[in-house]
Amino acid sequence: MLSCKEVTEICSREQDMPLALREKMGLHTHLMMCTGCSNFRKQMAVLRQAMKFYAEGKAVTADPDERPLE
């Protein structure tokens, strides 16, 4: 049985490379029972998405020229 500490490491690694089948099974078994790690995994996806927006210059910044008119 994987610990939360191990699962967070796997959730991060999953962002960079495919997981081995055994790891995937261990991960999903753990996630079914653990809200904290499920939230963590979703957050990894949010960070990935946010970084993608950020890289594409789509972040909503406080630049006054870009603020919509009120």
Partner: protein, 211 residues
């Protein structure tokens, strides 16, 4: 392979040429330098690449169709230049500094997990409210940028190579001369810190920033 070739600067922008003003580009300059410095950790190189990007944008302004925002388009140019620069530059992060930043890592992990490796109650991740919608708000990005800034220098740099510039982790390891497992540890460290910071600053409603 030159990723900042004309093709990539004008790709995906069919339709009538809109043209852009030098003033509009200059107003983005501070943001661009901030981006470049965050990645390159070198003010001079950052300024050079930003300058080149602005010049390239002006040269190819006829290919900007206003379909994407000007900022998106210019940042795509800058990003390609940073990627090219890093591809040609040799190992830029001394291994020792990456190791140094890991010194408090075990301590940090102990504040998050108990002896069994389970989440401590006050560290257990909560569900972030409406992340998709939040990404349309300045508040989200304000916290996000602040949290990126809080990453230790070289940890942040490795993270940005992966997530901002889109290098594969194998390529990062090779460029920095570190092992694959080290590479994953650094990326994991960055993500753990970033998510913790985001949760303190934005994910939990009453803001009591711990980062």
């Amino acid at each position: 392979m030159n990723r900042s070739a004309e093709v990539s600067e004008s790709s995906g922008l069919p339709g009538a040429a809109a043209g852009i003003s030098a003033e509009a580009l200059i107003s983005l300059r501070a943001d661009m330098i901030r981006f470049a410095q965050l990645q390159l950790r070198n003010a001079e190189t950052a300024e050079d690449l930003v300058q080149e990007s602005i010049e390239a944008a002006l040269r190819h302004s006829s290919t900007f169709a206003g379909q994407s925002t000007l900022k998106t388009w210019v940042f795509a140019i800058l990003r390609n230049r940073i990627i090219d620069h890093l591809r040609t530059a040799k190992r830029t992060v001394p291994m020792s500094s990456l190791v140094d930043e890991g010194e408090d890592w075990q301590e940090r992990l102990e504040t998050l997990f108990n002896e069994m490796g389970g989440w401590r109650d006050d560290a257990r991740p909560v569900a972030w409210p409406n992340p998709e919608e939040s990404m349309q708000t300045q508040q989200f990005w304000g916290v996000f940028e602040a949290c990126l800034d809080h990453l230790p220098t070289n940890t942040g740099r490795v993270f940005m190579m992966r997530e901002f510039l889109g290098f594969e982790s194998d390529e990062i390891c090779a460029q920095l001369g570190i092992s694959t497992s080290n590479c994953h540890v650094i990326l994991h460290r960055a993500r753990l810190k970033l998510r913790g910071c985001m949760e303190s600053g934005w994910g939990r409603r009453p803001v009591e920033a711990k980062c």
